[in-house]
């Protein structure tokens, strides 16, 4: 059984531009289905506005989906009442992109990391204290840093703090929404190293949301490509990057700059008018799905 199973997930936003204008409906996530096995790192890639972030938030019900199903550890997340949902959120956590905006600047690091434990009323004050030390050590920080404020830390260190907080409740699924995209490449490597190390040690499953295709190629086992709210292609990383089948994936991959001045990449343009983007996913090779339509 997969750890997470998302089926036909759809999220529509009603946006009213002015008082007297009719509501304008945006379908941010459109009939998205995928599943993630325990221990896997599943990449969700796409350009800005493709719906990848909204998909991640719908899974945690930080945004309520319009329709579809989310099953986590076999249970229907969308049917949970508030109490069950709160309990389920101990097992599914999120790490945000912005290490500057996602930590409360008025709280000391110790309080930030302890907060989930306090909210879920786990342990005595002394036990929580010990757990904070343990978590900070786990993410490569010094326990003494608990007395300091977020502003005293670099972007990479703040991302470690966010990770310590996300791990406080022993989740099994971690949704990482662009966790390294605001960091320098050399710092990115350190945080990815930490994420992969923690995955081994804590048996974590990752939904890794990113726009950096080469990073995803390097760390994920399977990947889904989103375009305008839909998954247009999904496969094992080697299969998707080695032989992309959807015209959009081909265009996206061909636009990635290659750090080698002797290579002049051959760019492929994507002409949406020539592709049926509403086509359903079909299995074009074992485990390789693409929305190719009839063409």
């Amino acid at each position: 059984m997969p750890l997470l199973e998302v089926s036909h997930l759809t999220k529509r936003f009603n946006r009213r531009r002015g008082w007297f204008e009719a509501a304008h409906v945006t379908t941010a996530v459109n009939d998205v289905s995928f599943s993630i096995d325990a221990g896997e790192t599943f990449g969700l890639v796409g350009e800005s506005g493709s719906g990848k972030t909204t998909t991640g938030r719908c899974i945690l019900r930080l945004v309520e989906p319009t329709s579809g199903q989310v099953r986590f550890e076999g249970e229907d997340v969308l049917a949970f009442d508030p109490d069950r949902l709160r309990a389920a959120r101990r097992r599914m956590q999120i790490v945000f992109q912005d290490p500057y905006g996602s930590l409360n600047p008025r709280l000391r690091v110790g309080a930030i990391v302890e907060e989930p434990l306090a909210i879920h009323r786990i342990g005595t004050a002394a036990e929580r204290d010990a757990r904070v030390d343990e978590l900070l050590t786990l993410v490569g920080l010094e326990p003494a840093m608990r007395l300091r404020y977020p502003r005293e830390f670099s972007g990479g260190q703040r991302q470690r703090i966010g990770l310590a907080r996300a791990l406080a409740l022993n989740p099994s699924l971690l949704i990482a929404d662009e966790p390294v995209s605001s960091l320098d490449v050399t710092v990115q490597a350190q945080i990815v190293e930490l994420l992969m190390d923690l995955q081994q040690r804590l048996r974590l499953t990752y939904l890794f949301i990113a726009h950096d295709l080469r990073l995803v190629e390097n760390i994920c086992s399977r990947v889904a490509v989103m375009y305008r709210g839909r998954i247009v292609e999904m496969a094992a990383v080697s299969s998707l990057f080695g032989s992309p089948r959807h015209a959009y994936t081909q265009a996206l991959l061909s636009a990635v700059p290659i750090p080698d001045p002797s290579v002049r990449p051959h760019r492929i343009q994507f002409d949406e008018s020539r592709v049926d983007i509403t086509a359903p996913l079909t299995e074009v090779a074992p485990g390789h799905w693409a929305a190719l339509g009839s063409g």
């Binding site: 726009h211 990635v256 002797s262």
Partner: protein, 266 residues
């Protein structure tokens, strides 16, 4: 060889306390693209803004020379410097959405540059704005010219900023992370546009970036900055093939394998 467009010698810049740019020296030759590469805090943007004498206070140039086509930019009076900024040396800023004022049409903002530099009256400048938008391949330039910035996408705004940079016929363009805020397909289009523009008008380009993929596709020469100093400089082929400095090697390794060594789950 002809005199370089830009010669920076032993430039040091500080913000109150210690210098953040130390003894930085490089040339940008006629028609070439020099990439100034480094991570955040390396001093690459401060170096670029120092050339234009536009470092925000309390930033201050502590020493060194900046010569543009033989003229010493550090000793020019402010009026003469204003005549160079946006005209002979143009800047393409990083964040297209915050570089334009939201209350004027894009056409008026381009025209304003021409009028401010005394290149045209408003009527001519507005007509010229349409030509410039056409040159940077913005679709429907004649109607788009009346759009406000919020009506355009990030890639379209970056085209507007390139049009604005080209408006007064610069010989040197400083591009500060011109594609960092853009999606990968839009980035590829903007890089194409910059390459074509350079070929057409024989521009020199000082490209500030952290992205070695962008460097590989754009630059003739590369200067690598780390902690306020240039640690290595050379032709783009040499830097990528045979990097000498450990920091350059580390940057290249990170760029070739983002996230470190491959660790795909089996």
């Amino acid at each position: 060889m002809a005199e370089p467009q830009l010669e920076v010698a032993k430039l040091s810049v500080g913000f109150g306390g210690d210098a953040v740019v130390h003894d930085v020296s490089f040339d940008v030759r006629d028609g070439e693209c020099l990439a100034l590469v480094g991570e955040s805090g390396s001093g690459k943007s401060v170096t670029a803004y120092s050339i234009l004498r536009a470092v925000p206070p309390p930033g201050r140039i502590l020493g060194g020379d900046v010569r543009f086509r033989g003229r010493d930019l550090r000793t020019l009076d402010e009026a003469a410097m204003r005549a160079i900024r946006g005209a002979a040396i143009a800047l393409i800023p990083q964040e297209p959405s915050s570089a334009l004022t939201p209350v004027l049409t894009i056409g008026d903002q381009i025209a304003e540059t021409l009028v401010a530099h005394g290149r045209a009256d408003w009527t001519t400048a507005r007509a010229r704005a349409v030509e410039l938008l056409d040159a940077v391949k913005l679709t429907h330039p004649a109607t788009r010219v009346r759009d406000y910035p919020h009506q355009l996408s990030g890639g379209q705004l970056q085209r507007v900023l390139i049009a604005m940079a080209l408006s007064c016929g610069p010989s040197l363009v400083i591009a500060d992370e011109p594609t960092t805020a853009l999606d990968v397909r839009v980035q590829a289009e903007i890089l194409d546009l910059l390459r074509e523009t350079r070929a057409k008008s024989d521009l020199s380009l000082l490209l500030i970036t952290h992205d070695l993929g962008v460097v590989a596709s754009m630059a003739d020469r590369v200067a690598v900055m780390c902690a306020g100093r240039i640690v290595e400089e050379g032709a783009v082929g040499d830097i990528f093939r045979t990097p000498q400095h450990p920091y350059t090697k580390e940057l290249l390794a990170s760029a070739r394998r983002p996230g470190g060594s491959p660790r795909r789950a089996s």
